[in-house]
């Protein structure tokens, strides 16, 4: 079989995945405003299971409504959602694929807050507003921290109850865990701030609580940003180094993590995650959805909207990309982390070429790779590799239009150059809605009381 390394099973402590390819966390606003799942989500995840990935890491799944990143993404904050997640798990399992729920909390990084979060600042490690969009924050009290830790444990328990194959803590990319971990963001003066040990306390307490809730034999992996690169807005501090992250990974392993998932950057999106281009022109018709989310939205929008201002944002964003490749942008950091931990390491960041992935696996740099955009572009990427293609015929161009369209439009590949025409592109994007379940007559529960 060509690219044999990719197709070797990956054995975790509590989970075996049939190959080395993970669908990284990505989604659209498929679900209901209350966080309940829809048929569309099942459709979405099934695309990738059909395509042959070994496991799907769900898009970020908030454990609390106050931790949503974008509304209309499925949540796991209620027990009555367990059957819904169970149904999704059954479908994915039926396609010979594993399903790992990514437990998350937005912290201050709340792009589209949703109705539940109207009229309240978001909780974070800090009360300093977020630097790029100007999201307003409120430093969490210890009670709120405890409440959140418990919510993560409850979320993991619900995932296990739903029969899913594991959970991942989204402690990368600037979400709540990052906000505690990063020396560029965390300005607390209690036991959750200051030295690295204190900043890691929240994450480690969550791992401990999850282990207490679900036991030792349920897969739990931790996604970490290898390096924060927190100074996207130039006057911010740089944040955590690779050395800091290695230490965190070791502590996480010791606390009970079964794998480390390596990413980059202390905000999302970040110039290095997802790597690739950024269309400021496209942002002029999508970022408007976020203008009211923070207090710097209008300023940013002007920077996108007026071409004579674009060089400002272009400089801010693209200066950080210098010297970085796109495919395997985090590979070297992952390699070092793997050398320092005993559990398997998965790496994300622009993977699309089978031979490149095989080499990384062969060298033992990583144990698996996770892919989002290239799989959105080619749901059957793994099958193409299996058929002997090193790269797909119409590869992902890393244009990131999928990313910056997500605020207003269904998730999908918006690079029209990959399609014969515009209609084909829209048809492809809309394909996620094709298979719908039966519609039922609701009971009186729909009435207002």
């Amino acid at each position: 079989m060509p690219y044999d390394e990719i197709f070797q099973p990956l054995q975790f402590r509590n989970l075996t995945v049939k190959n080395r390819i993970f669908r990284s966390n990505i989604s659209g606003r498929w679900d209901n405003e209350d966080g309940s799942l829809t048929q569309t989500r099942i459709n979405w995840e099934s695309k990738f299971a059909h395509g042959g990935v070994g496991a799907i890491i769900s898009s970020y799944v908030p454990v609390l409504m106050e931790g949503r990143i974008i509304a209309s993404y499925a949540t796991v904050h209620r027990d009555d959602f367990i059957p819904l997640w169970a149904r999704l798990g059954e479908v994915i399992h039926g396609l010979d694929c594993k399903f790992i729920m990514q437990l998350s909390h937005s912290g201050r990084q709340m792009d589209l807050p949703g109705v539940h979060n109207l009229a309240r600042p978001t909780l974070s490690s800090t009360s300093r507003k977020e630097s790029l969009h100007g999201f307003l924050t409120q430093a969490m009290s210890k009670a709120e921290i405890d409440h959140t830790i418990a919510a993560f444990a409850k979320g993991a328990w619900r995932a296990r109850e739903a029969g899913l194959d594991g959970v991942e803590l989204h402690s990368a990319n600037g979400y709540l865990f990052s906000q505690f971990l990063s020396s560029g963001i965390n300005d607390r003066e209690d036991e959750y701030g200051g030295v690295l040990e204190n900043r890691a306390r929240f994450l480690l307490n969550v791992i401990e609580a999850i282990r207490n809730a679900v036991g030792r034999d349920f897969h739990l992996q931790v996604k970490l940003s290898a390096i924060d690169h927190n100074n996207v807005v130039p006057w911010e501090k740089a944040g955590n180094t690779l050395g800091d992250t290695i230490q965190i990974a070791k502590w996480a392993e010791a606390a009970g993590a079964d794998a480390i998932h390596v990413s980059q950057g202390s905000l999302f999106p970040h110039p290095l995650n997802p790597p690739g281009d950024l269309s400021l022109e496209t942002l002029t018709t999508t970022y408007d959805a976020m203008i009211g989310s923070g207090v710097n939205g209008l300023r940013n929008y002007f920077l996108f909207r007026y071409p004579f201002l674009r060089p400002i944002f272009h400089w801010i964003w693209f200066r950080m990309k210098k010297g970085h490749v796109v495919e395997g942008v985090n590979l070297e950091e992952a390699r070092v982390i793997k050398q320092n931990v005993g559990v398997p390491v998965i790496c994300t960041g622009g993977f699309q070429t089978a031979s490149f992935i095989c080499e990384a696996l062969r060298e033992g740099a990583v144990d698996g790779v996770s892919i989002a955009r290239s799989l959105v572009a080619n749901n059957d990427l793994v099958q193409q590799w299996a058929a002997g293609h090193d790269r797909p015929e119409r590869p992902c161009t890393y244009c990131n239009r999928c990313l910056i369209s997500a605020m207003k439009n269904p998730m999908g590949c918006y690079d029209q150059s990959r399609y014969p025409d515009r209609d084909s592109m829209i048809e492809e994007v809309m394909s996620v809605y094709r298979a719908h379940g039966a519609m039922i007559a609701p009971g009186k529960e729909v009435m207002s009381s």
Binding site: L118, A119, R120, P121, L136, G292, S293, G294, V295
Partner: protein, 519 residues
Amino acid sequence: MSDINKPFSAVQIYLSQRMWRLDAALILLVFLVLIGLAALVIVIAALVEFGGKGTPTYADNPAHFMYGSIGAETESGLPYAVWKALPSLYPADFKGRSDYSAFGFLYEKGPNGKQQDLPIGISRRTVNGIEVVWFNCATCHVGTWREATGASPHIVPGMPSNNLDLYRFIRFILDAGADEKLTPDILLPAMEKTGTRLNPLEQLVWRFYVIPRVREGLIQRRSRLLPLLAAQPPWGPGRVDTFNPYKLLLEFGPGARIPDSELVGVADFPAIFDQRPREGMQLHWDGNNNSLAERNLSAALGAGVTPTTVDHASIERDAAWLLDLKPPPSPYRPDGAAAARGEAIFMKSCAACHGWQGPTGYVFQGAGIGKVDPVADVGTDPNRLNSYTKAFRDWQVANLFKGTPYRFSHFIKTGGYANLPLDGLWLRAPYLHNGSVPTLADLLTPPAQRPKAFARGSDVIDRAKGGFQAPSCAPGAPLADGTFCFDTAQRGNSNAGHTWGTNLPADQKADLLAYLMTF
């Protein structure tokens, strides 16, 4: 009332607070812009109001000479409005008149038959939007004569200003500058009463800038000049100390005093007819300069111009006109035969130094004409000679109009007095450089017998003696007709010297006098 616009979400609350800060900044900005605009309007108004400059011009040369500016107003002048208000503030000094005739300033009648607004010798110039008046050449070089008391005066440009009591005028102005009546609270209403209309902006500018600046200038001049004036005998009409005030105002610093040896430089105003033939002669009483142009500029400095304010074109226009200005013919009608005999005596004894009156006019010839005779030979009062020193000469040459084509270079220190041509002699009484001898007849009298004290300031001609009527008087006592009792015993006023002709027999003296009265 619905709270539909009340901020609800955290972002809305934050933005509305930021908006308040923005609004405050905007209000501040608008306020600053408004203040800026107001300031701009005020500045533009001020520029329009106080940016004006210029001076009236006169087509007619005599009018230019009498009323045209030579540039003295800028540094030395008084605002016209103050000039107009002073008579009402100091009625005693002005003898109750509303004009400046009390000081001997001369007024012509305008085309409408009314007296001119400004006297002869006072010109106007707009400086920074303010009309300012001060002296020109005619201040000291226009006089009058009359046939008899009660007759109307003839105004003669170019003759000495025999009426003007410059000493009294200067002391009055300097004293007024230090006087409370020139403070804005008193002066502004007086200006209003004498026809000045100020708008509110001008009121402010006058109250806080113009009047304080005028007073400051007068006080400074007073502090420099008053010690000199107080130490000198009053000059009397028709006289001036040319160089000492000029030293105090231009050369010396604050607190300086004129050394006693040069303290009294008072002399008569000279006539300035017929300048063309004088080019190259030793000019000024002591003959310290032989350049008409340089002498003219020096005299202009005396009138109050400075090297930066001087109006060269105006002065040169006056100078060009004066080149050939003839004195009016003598009104005396002496016996023709006597005059002919007198001419013979004059040609023998006097013409070499003074030139002579020929049948068609004055002849500016003679071996000694325009040359300096040592003071020991002339024997006249040495004070005027001594007031001009080598040190002052050196300072003038080193500093005045330095770096310009007008730089002074012709001044010299002499040891006597110059032999002057005697054209227009009948208008130049009293005689000698210091005006110490009232008439020609007195000048032909031995010094001991010349009048010891006589009245100066009359313009009525004396047909018997040649000159202006100058009755004897008692020094110190005021004269009823307002003339000035000139005391030859005072320093600088000695009537000694120039004894030529004093020893002639009486008939020859009479013949000589008859000839001199034809000049």
